[in-house]
Symmetry: C2
Subunit: 315 residues, 2 copies
C-alpha cells in the first residue's frame, strides 16, 4: 500500500488540493473556490472537503494518505500551526488551522507559509530538481519568497524568513507598502511596474498605454512592449535590472544552487530575464555566481501543492 | 580522558591556536607570527608547531585532541580542504591545506572560511549563546560575514555564502573593490568611512582631521567624533545607518535570532549602534525584527579559534 500525501495551496480565491506520491507526482487534483466570506470555520470545512476528495482517490488507488500539508498566506506560528494573521483572509487572526484540520480529517497536518512551500516544491521536483538549495521569488502584486537549504525550508527564528521583497536596494527609493523605502517590491513587483509607467507618462513619455492608464496591469505593459512600445519595453527591462540587483544580493548572502522566479510578472519572459542576468553578471563576485542556475519556475501551477505535501513528508 | 579540540585562526599576520573543550572554553592559547613569506609549506609547518603546543598542553591535562579546525581567509574547496586562492597570502593557490596538516599532525583536520568559523564561535558561546541562528558581520578594511542556521555554518552551494559586504544597497552608489557599485562594504567598512570623510573635507567641511587626511583611519574618525568634531560624528552616524539598512535586509531574508558585529569599526560603540538600530526599526517589518538581538561580538579575540574547534567537533 503506497504512502501518499496531500498538499493544499490555500489562496484568497481558490483552494487547490493535490494527491502527491513520494516521487513528487501529482496523482489527482481537486480545486474549489475558497469562499473566504464563510470565515475560518467555513474555509476549514472546505479545505477538509478538498482533502477528502484526494483521500478517496488515494483509497481507490489502494494507497493511504499519511499526512496533509497546507501552504497558507499570512504569519504562522509554526510550532502550533496557528495562523496569527492573514492579510487576504478577512477575520483570520489566531486561527488554530492545524488542530482544526486534524480534528476534521484524522490525519497529521502541518501548516507552513505558502511561498516557502512553493520554494520547497520547486527545489524538490521543479526548477531545483537535483539541487539541495534554492531561493524562490514570487513576482506578483507584491514580492514574496522562500529559501530552501539542505533540502528543507529555512523558516527562520520566528518563521518569517524569505521576505525577499522587503530587501532594500536603495534607502532613498520609492515608498513601499511596508513603510520603508526602496524595497525590491517597490521596484520589481507588478504594482511597481504600473506605478513607474504612469509616472513616465505623467512626465511626458509617449506610450500607446496612455489610453488605459487608469486600469493598467503588468501584462498590458509586457504586451505593449512586445508590440513595439519603447516606454513599455524600457519599463520591463528596468524591472529585470532591479531584479538582478536583488538576485545578486541573494547570491552573495546565500550562495544557493538555484534562484527561481514565479508569479504573473514572469510572463515577460526573456525581456525580463535578459537584463536580469546581465545585471547579475555585472554585480556578482565570480565565485558567488559560478554554476548558479537562475530561471523561471517549472511548476507554475503545482509548486504550492507539491511543496505542501513535501513539507509534511519531511516532518 | 576528556575529548579536546584545537582551533586555529590563520591570519595574514598571526597564527592563533587554542585548545578548546567541548564546553567551548579556551584552555590554552598559542600565538605566533604567520610569516607568510615562507610560503604555504613553511606556513603549514608553523601551523603544525602551534597545534603541537596545544596537543602537548592537552596531554599535560590528561586529555586527547580529537580534531583540528582551521579558519582560513580565501576561497576554500570544502570537500577536499584545498585553499583555492587567498588574497592576503602570497603564493596560496590550490594548496591542499587539510591533507598537508593531517600528514604533519596525524589528527583529523577541517578547513573552513575564517569569517564563517568566527560566526560559529559567536553562535556557540558568544553573542549567540543559547541561539541556534546568528549572522556575523566583520567590519574592518572590508566587510565579511558568516551565517549560522540550526547551529551549523550555512556555507552555500560552493562554500562562499556570507559575502554580506557585497550586498548592494544602492545600484548607483560608490564604486566597490569588487567591480560593482553601492555594496554595503562601500558604505560601512573602515575604508568607506575614510573615503567619505576625505570627500566631505574636499567639499569644504571643516574638520579637525584635516591635518592628517593622508593617513586617516576609522579609529581617528571615531576619536575625533568623541572629541566633538561634527563632521566626524556625522560620518560615524551615517555608517551606523548604512549598516542598519544591511541588517534590515538580513532580518527580512534570513530571520535569524542574533546579528553580531565584530572588527575594528565596532570600536565606535554606541555612536555606531544607535543609528543602526534606529534604521532597523524604521525599515524592518515588525515580525522580522521581533525578539532579534543585534549586538557586538562577545568573543572579539577568540571567536575564530573557538569556532574552528567547534567546526571540527560538529563534523
Amino acid at each position: 500500500m503506497p504512502d501518499l500525501f496531500v498538499g493544499v495551496d490555500l489562496g484568497g480565491t481558490n483552494i487547490k488540493a493535490g494527491l502527491v506520491s513520494t516521487a513528487g507526482e501529482v496523482l489527482h487534483r481537486h480545486r474549489i473556490p475558497t469562499r473566504s466570506e464563510l470565515g475560518p470555520e467555513g474555509v476549514v470545512q472546505r479545505i477538509a472537503e478538498a482533502v477528502r476528495a484526494c483521500i478517496r482517490e488515494a483509497e481507490r488507488r489502494g494507497g493511504a494518505v499519511r499526512g496533509v500539508g497546507v501552504g497558507s498566506p499570512g504569519t504562522i506560528d509554526l510550532g502550533s500551526g496557528v495562523i496569527l494573521f492573514s492579510p487576504n483572509m478577512p477575520g483570520w487572526r489566531d486561527i488554530p488551522l492545524r488542530s482544526m484540520a486534524e480534528k476534521a480529517l484524522g490525519v497529521p497536518c502541518r501548516i507552513a507559509n505558502d511561498a516557502n512551500v512553493a520554494a520547497l516544491g520547486e527545489q524538490w521536483v521543479g526548477a531545483g530538481r537535483g539541487a539541495r538549495s534554492l531561493v524562490l521569488l514570487t513576482l506578483g502584486t507584491g514580492i514574496g519568497g522562500g529559501i530552501v537549504t539542505n533540502g528543507r525550508i529555512w523558516e527562520g527564528a520566528t518563521g518569517v524568513a524569505g521576505e525577499i521583497g522587503h530587501m532594500c536596494i536603495n534607502p532613498d527609493g520609492p515608498a513601499c507598502g511596508c513603510g520603508s523605502r526602496g524595497c525590491l517590491e517597490a521596484y520589481a513587483s507588478a504594482t511597481a511596474m504600473v506605478r513607474r509607467l504612469r509616472e513616465a507618462m505623467e512626465q511626458g513619455a509617449q506610450s500607446a498605454l496612455a489610453a488605459r492608464a487608469a486600469d493598467l496591469t503588468a501584462r498590458d505593459i509586457h504586451e505593449a512592449a512586445l508590440a513595439g512600445d519603447a516606454v513599455a519595453r524600457a519599463n520591463v527591462e528596468a524591472t529585470g535590472r532591479y531584479l538582478g540587483v536583488g538576485v545578486s544580493n541573494i547570491l552573495h548572502i546565500l550562495n544557493p544552487e538555484v534562484v527561481a522566479f514565479s508569479g504573473g510578472v514572469t510572463a515577460a519572459g526573456d525581456m525580463l530575464m535578459g537584463p536580469c542576468l546581465e545585471e547579475v553578471r555585472r554585480r556578482t563576485l565570480e565565485a558567488s555566481r559560478a554554476g548558479v542556475r537562475i530561471c523561471f519556475s517549472q511548476l507554475p501551477e503545482d509548486a504550492g501543492v507539491i511543496g505542501a505535501a513535501r513539507y509534511v513528508m519531511l516532518d
